[in-house]
Every structure is written in structure tokens, then in C-alpha cells.
């Protein structure tokens, strides 16, 4: 790098190339360091894949066992809000990509702008998710002692179920809708938790970016965070059709 400083070697091995100030001593080159970091980040994401994989496995089994209950319960979700959230999250992935690009081009202003935009899109996503959760709590569709089967044993009493053309379910099947909502809250809740953690890191990066932390050639942190944020996007890409779009026709 043209602006890097040459580090004096005190040992036997004299470096043949200029050292980047960002190169840790255990690595041969910046390329090796970047590859190692990239590899490590992917390994972490694979543990996350396994974690969510467990939830998806439970989903698959119960969906096959209690399919009519899953259909009726899924009809309680708003495709409109879910679709808007999908687009919001995909857009936040784009702004994150542009943030990484800004850091690589050393454009501080645009990096901060895109990080803040990413954060903002995350806030709106969680806001919409909150509206959806609130409606579920009000209709007593949150699993637990206050869970209500009203919408499923007597769909005529619920405009949402009427709009979806739901037929009354026998009591034993209707009770299984609680399994669906347990999975709905577990999966979307865990997804939301990942977003909240990500947004905390985003705030930290916005704060650090103001003092040129990522725009002097050291972009690794922003890149690794980008991988995490895109991963959270991928989880939602699967959650949306699996939870919202069961037997809509």
C-alpha cells in the first residue's frame, strides 16, 4: 500500500515487502489475514445455520403432523406486512453492501450514511414486527394460559379467518394452532433478536466510522458485519414463505 508505513524488523527474517499497519504479526500477508478472517466469520455463520436448522427441523415435522392447524394459524398473519418487511430487509442488505463498498473506497460520509440507512430500515422492520406481535397478543394468539381457539373453532367470529375462507376446525386440531404460534414466535423472535444485536453493532460502527476507523484501508470489521447482516436476511427469506404463505389459495 502506498500510504503504509514500513515496520522495522528486529529479527532474523527481514520482510521483503512493505507491511500494512493493519497486518497482525502472525500473518504472512494482508491477503492471508483477510482469508483467515473471512473463513472464521463463515465458520461462525455455519454454527448459526445449525442453530436455525434445529428450528426449521421442528417446523418441518410439526407442519407435516398438524398441517390443517398450520394452515389456519398461518392465515392469521398479514401477507402485506410480511411482504413489506421482506422488501425492507432486502433493502437493508443492499444499503449494507453499499456501506461496505463505501468503506473500501474510503468514503467516510457515504459509509456513515449507508450504515445509518441500514439501521433505520432495521428499526422500521422491528416496528412492523412489533405491530404484528401486538395484534397476536390482543387476539390471544400468543401461546400460553391465555391462548384462545376462538378464531379456529369459530372462524365466523374472526374477520381475518372469514377473509381467508377458513372452515371451523375440530377442537383437537384447533389446539395444535398453538404449536404453530409457538414456532412463529420462537423463529421470528430469534430472528428479531439477531437483528437487535446487529443494530447494536451498527450503532457502534456508526460511532467508530466518524473517527475514520474503517476508511483508512482497514475495512475488515465492516465486511464481517456485512456477512452477519446478510445472513440474518437469508433467514428471513426462508421464514417469510414458510410462516406466512402456507396454503393461501
Amino acid at each position: 500500500m502506498s500510504d503504509s508505513t514500513v515496520i522495522a524488523h528486529d529479527g532474523l527474517e527481514a520482510g521483503h515487502h512493505e507491511h500494512s499497519p493493519h497486518l497482525h504479526h502472525q500473518f504472512e500477508s494482508v491477503e492471508q489475514q483477510a482469508d483467515a478472517g473471512n473463513f472464521a466469520m463463515w465458520l461462525f455463520l455455519l454454527t448459526e445455520v445449525m442453530f436455525f436448522g434445529g428450528l426449521f427441523t421442528v417446523y418441518m415435522i410439526y407442519r407435516n403432523w398438524y398441517y390443517p392447524a398450520f394452515v389456519a394459524a398461518s392465515h392469521q398473519l398479514s401477507v402485506k406486512l410480511g411482504g413489506i418487511n421482506s422488501v425492507l430487509l432486502i433493502t437493508s442488505s443492499l444499503t449494507m453492501t453499499l456501506g461496505v463498498w463505501s468503506a473500501q473506497l474510503r468514503r467516510k460520509g457515504s459509509l456513515i450514511f449507508f450504515l445509518m440507512l441500514t439501521f433505520l430500515l432495521g428499526v422500521v422492520f422491528l416496528g412492523i414486527k412489533g405491530v404484528e406481535y401486538k395484534e397476536k397478543f390482543e387476539k390471544h394468539h400468543f401461546p400460553g394460559a391465555n391462548y384462545s381457539l376462538q378464531s379456529f373453532v369459530n372462524p365466523a367470529s374472526d374477520p381475518v379467518a372469514v377473509a381467508a375462507g377458513d372452515k371451523p376446525l375440530p377442537l383437537d386440531i384447533a389446539q395444535r394452532t398453538e404449536v404453530y404460534f409457538s414456532l412463529y414466535f420462537a423463529m421470528t423472535g430469534m430472528h428479531a433478536l439477531h437483528m437487535i444485536v446487529g443494530m447494536g453493532i451498527l450503532l457502534f460502527m456508526i460511532f467508530r466510522a466518524r473517527s475514520d476507523a474503517y476508511t483508512t484501508g482497514h475495512t475488515a470489521f465492516v465486511e464481517y458485519f456485512g456477512l452477519y447482516w446478510h445472513f440474518v436476511d437469508i433467514i428471513w427469506i426462508f421464514l417469510f414463505p414458510l410462516l406466512y404463505l402456507i396454503n393461501r389459495h
Binding site: 500500500m1 502506498s2 493493519h22 497486518l23 500477508s29 494482508v30 491477503e31 489475514q33 483477510a34 482469508d35 473471512n38 473463513f39 463463515w42 465458520l43 455455519l46 445455520v49 445449525m50 436448522g53 426449521f56 427441523t57 418441518m60 415435522i61 407435516n64 403432523w65 398438524y66 401477507v79 411482504g83 421482506s86 422488501v87 432486502i90 442488505s93 443492499l94 449494507m96 453492501t97 453499499l98 463498498w101 473500501q104 473506497l105 395444535r176 484501508g217 482497514h218 475495512t219 475488515a220 465486511e223 456485512g226 456477512l227 446478510h230 445472513f231 436476511d233 437469508i234 427469506i237 426462508f238 417469510f240 414463505p241 414458510l242 404463505l245 402456507i246 396454503n247 393461501r248 389459495h249
Partner: protein, 102 residues
């Protein structure tokens, strides 16, 4: 930009990011439209297929996997293989016992 970065990673042209973005949004639209058609058994299959294409686009381009070192590609490949193996083994167990009886 030819100047080497500390990251050593290739810089992705924003045009690629925008194209991926448009494809992903189109995927959301497609999966919603498809879910309102009666395709029988193919409804969930199509939904998962669209999601897989979307996820692949994100992984390959947004997450730069296409331009990542081979060891990262191999790890992701083996991770997905491991996940599918676990899915298959768990489902095999359930299917060979009491599938659909409740």
C-alpha cells in the same frame, strides 16, 4: 480501483448489488403470487425453491462468496451438506415411525 485494500478482497461493483437487489425483490413478489395459485404439492416446493435461489444470490454476491477463498466455499458447502444430512436423518426417523398419525 486498483489500489490494494487491507482486506485483500475484491470490491463488488454497486451495479451488481442493484441487480441482485432487483432479483431479490422480484423473488418476494413471485413467491407471494405463487402462493395464491393452487399448485398442489408444488406450492411448498416452489416456495422453498424461490427462497433457495434468493439465498444463493445473497450468499454468492452480497456475501462475496463467489470471490471468497476456496476454504470458505468448501466450508459453506460442507456446512449445507451437514445440515441436509441432519434434516434427512431426523425426518427418516420420524417418517419410519408415526408420520401423520396424531
Amino acid at each position: 480501483m486498483s489500489e490494494p485494500q487491507e482486506s485483500g478482497h475484491r470490491i463488488i461493483n454497486p451495479r451488481v448489488s442493484f441487480l441482485v437487489y432487483l432479483a431479490l425483490v422480484a423473488g418476494v413478489g413471485l413467491t407471494i403470487v405463487a402462493s395464491y395459485q393452487n399448485l398442489g404439492i408444488f406450492n411448498p416446493i416452489l416456495a422453498v425453491a424461490i427462497a433457495l435461489v434468493q439465498a444463493s444470490l445473497v450468499a454468492l454476491f452480497s456475501m462475496h462468496l463467489k470471490y471468497s477463498p476456496r476454504v470458505s466455499k468448501l466450508s459453506v458447502g460442507s456446512g449445507i451438506f451437514m445440515l441436509l444430512t441432519l434434516f434427512a436423518m431426523v425426518l427418516l426417523d420420524y417418517m419410519s415411525r408415526a408420520w401423520g398419525s396424531w
